[in-house]
Chain length 134, copies 2
């Protein structure tokens, strides 16, 4: 698996955990070794790991939380840090996200997430995972 | 100057260039060595450096573009990559931004920007630059 594929795999795992409403899996994807930060759409910054994990658990426990699909994920790797941009598509619209990962041994752990509204749309010719393991 | 101060200095230089409507200064702040990406509020991703610089030039040339102040900037450093979170405050409201920088010799160059709406507010007890050179 290439470095880029490994990063996109970690990004996909995040949205898989979201689809599965698996707060424990989300927790496991966030780094425990370095400072982490998170900006949910419309929220302020969360800069405490426990608060981040709790916020995701609350979102996933909300019956009204939409099912989200990740589209058009693109990864850029800068040494031991990777930046992924992707769309988060759901029934009523979509968001655009920046997800940052840090290399920890063989895996990439999430260290930052920001999602916000976008008027753009994913490429209809891309596959569902945004060209994930090409 | 500490590493963190150098990162916050680069972040502040970005908002200074914005305040000065100095598209050339914005251009100079973005890395020319590695891939760069930008997500303006509500836009799709821009993944081409020339398009990013042109988008900033267009924003700065717009007489209706608001004056923006950076507040509560917080930097996390991961080796040669730094992630800054800050508020972008203007007359009618505010945005929250993720700015990512990459170390290039003695300076930090911008490699990613995403800004989106937030219902949170900067800390009224912080100074105007978000505690920049403490």
């Amino acid at each position: 698996m290439s470095e880029r594929d490994a990063v996109l795999f970690a990004n996909e795992a995040f949205y898989r955990a979201f689809a599965d409403r698996d707060a424990r899996a989300v927790d496991a994807l966030w780094s425990t070794n370095v400072p982490v930060t998170c900006i949910h759409p419309g929220w302020g910054p969360i800069q405490d790991r426990e608060e981040i994990v709790a916020s995701w658990a609350a979102i996933l426990a909300d019956e009204n939380a939409p099912d989200i699909q990740c589209n058009d994920a693109e990864a850029q790797i800068y040494g031991d840090v990777a930046v992924v941009i992707c769309f988060e598509t759901f029934d009523d619209g979509r968001l655009i996200a920046t997800n940052i990962f840090c290399r920890e041994g063989p895996v990439w752990k999430m260290i930052h997430h920001q999602a916000g509204p976008t008027s753009a749309a994913p490429d209809p010719h891309a596959d569902e995972t945004g060209g994930m393991l090409h």
